[in-house]
């Protein structure tokens, strides 16, 4: 229980221990703790940022989807419009064609009628001449009386 040199021994060892702790224990451990803390903070903020990005991407996807939907319905409407246009055109064309065909048929019929009428007229003229020849029972100069016969034929 005497105070002696041990006091200085203890004082010096205490000083050395404190110095050692400061230099080789406290500083590296606190450094590691600090590094880990900042690492965790970084990870957390990165996670937060990722979440935010995901939210943005989801919103973006939603917008794109909406736009695509709009475009699709627009295209569908256009298609329907075009289809009805095509049908109308086809109808018009068909109608015009029918009319054209009808007109052509009518013209042909008219032609046939005219031709038949011409033939009839010629035949009637021949018949008239034959009849007249028979009636007159004499030789008639066909050339001299042709104008007469023709006029008769025309009157038919």
């Amino acid at each position: 229980m005497n105070i002696n040199l041990t006091l200085f021994g203890q004082l010096i060892s205490f000083g050395v221990f404190v110095w050692f702790t400061l230099k080789y224990v406290w500083t590296p451990i606190m450094g590691a703790l600090e590094e880990r803390r900042s690492g965790i903070a970084d990870s957390l903020s990165a996670a937060e940022k990722g979440k935010h990005d995901e939210e943005l991407a989801r919103q973006h996807a939603k917008e794109i989807l909406l736009e695509a939907k709009n475009q699709a319905s627009e295209i569908k409407a256009q298609g329907e419009k075009r289809a009805s246009e095509i049908v109308d055109e086809a109808k018009d064309e068909a109608r015009a064609e029918g009319e054209r065909l009808l007109t052509a048929a009518r013209a042909e019929v008219d032609q046939e009628v005219n031709r038949a009428r011409e033939q009839l007229r010629e035949q009637v003229a021949k018949l008239a001449i034959t009849g007249a020849e028979k009636i007159l029972q004499r030789e008639i100069d066909a050339a001299a009386h042709k104008d007469v016969v023709d006029s008769i034929a025309n009157q038919i």
């Binding site: 040199l5 004082l11 060892s13 224990v25 406290w26 500083t27 606190m30």
Partner: protein, 286 residues
């Protein structure tokens, strides 16, 4: 038990004597064989047991913490690292709570004080006769295994803290500021004559309170540990007094040891906290 042929008072005295190395009365260097011889050696002697155990424990503490610091990674920490980091964070929190200035030395100082004192106090839980008995086999007569029951150890640390206090007081506040704190407080007066009268009174008060800091630090730890050790020794004497008293002594020792776990931790914590507070006072103007 070492004391079959000893009386109780001899047994106690034996347990309270350090292994002292110094100059004998006849001028030769050597280890004191009796407490009287040890006392005669005076100031220029050294307590080998105190030095040995405190250095061993200090080196042990630094070895494990250095190991943890070396392997300290930013990844997932292992067991030893976790334990050391837990203590470091606990100390760091205590320092942050009581120390308001900036000084990188204070936290390592607190860590060293806490762990070292705790380990030295922990030696108290080793049954009082075990290590002296083992030492006796090697021919060592005296062995006081708890360094903190040696006032040299506690005063050594307290003087270290006191030196740092003085150093930082003067460094932060300059010599004039520090002397001002010692002489112009707590009594002040606008009147220069009254103030001049107050100076010696202030100095007396402040000087006593300044000196009381390291002395109270050292004596509180020493007193607590010495008393605890003494109780263990007294309980150990009961083992010689028959089976019933011996059993009773065993139960008492167990109870006291469990209670002592609280004391050794508390004393280490008090020493550390007061050291932090004193360092804080050294950095701040009152």
């Amino acid at each position: 038990m070492a004391g079959d042929t000893l009386t109780s008072s001899e047994y106690i005295k034996h347990h309270l004597t350090n292994l002292t190395f110094g100059q004998h009365a006849d001028g030769t260097l050597g280890i004191a064989h009796t407490s009287a011889e040890a006392a005669e050696m005076g100031f220029w002697a050294i307590h080998l047991d105190t030095m040995f155990w405190s250095l061993l424990l200090g080196v042990l503490f630094l070895y494990f913490f250095k190991k943890a610091a070396d392997t300290a990674t930013t990844g997932v920490p292992g067991g030893l690292q976790n334990f050391c980091e837990w203590i470091v964070e606990f100390i760091d929190e205590s320092v942050r709570g009581s120390f308001t200035s900036k000084n990188v030395l204070v936290a390592p100082l607190a860590l060293t004080i806490f762990i070292w004192i705790f380990l030295m106090n922990l030696m108290d839980l080793v049954p009082v006769d075990v290590i002296p008995l083992i030492a006796g086999w090697f021919g060592i007569h005296f062995m006081k295994v708890v360094p903190s029951t040696d006032p040299n150890a506690t005063f050594g640390m307290a003087i270290g803290v006191f030196g740092l206090m003085l150093f930082y007081s003067i460094k932060v506040k300059c010599l004039s500021g520090f002397m001002g704190e010692l002489t112009f407080m707590p009594f002040t007066s606008k009147n220069p004559v009254v103030q001049a009268i107050f100076i010696p009174i202030n100095f007396l008060l402040e000087f006593v309170s300044l000196i009381a800091k390291p002395i109270s630090l050292a004596l509180r730890l020493f007193g607590n540990m010495y008393a605890g050790e003494m109780i263990f020794i007294l309980i150990a004497i009961m083992y010689n007094a028959g089976a019933v008293l011996g059993l009773f002594g065993g139960a008492l020792q167990l109870g006291w040891a469990i209670f002592h776990i609280l004391i050794i931790t508390l004393q280490a914590f008090i020493f550390m906290t007061l050291a932090i507070v004193y360092m804080d006072m050294a950095h701040n103007e009152h």
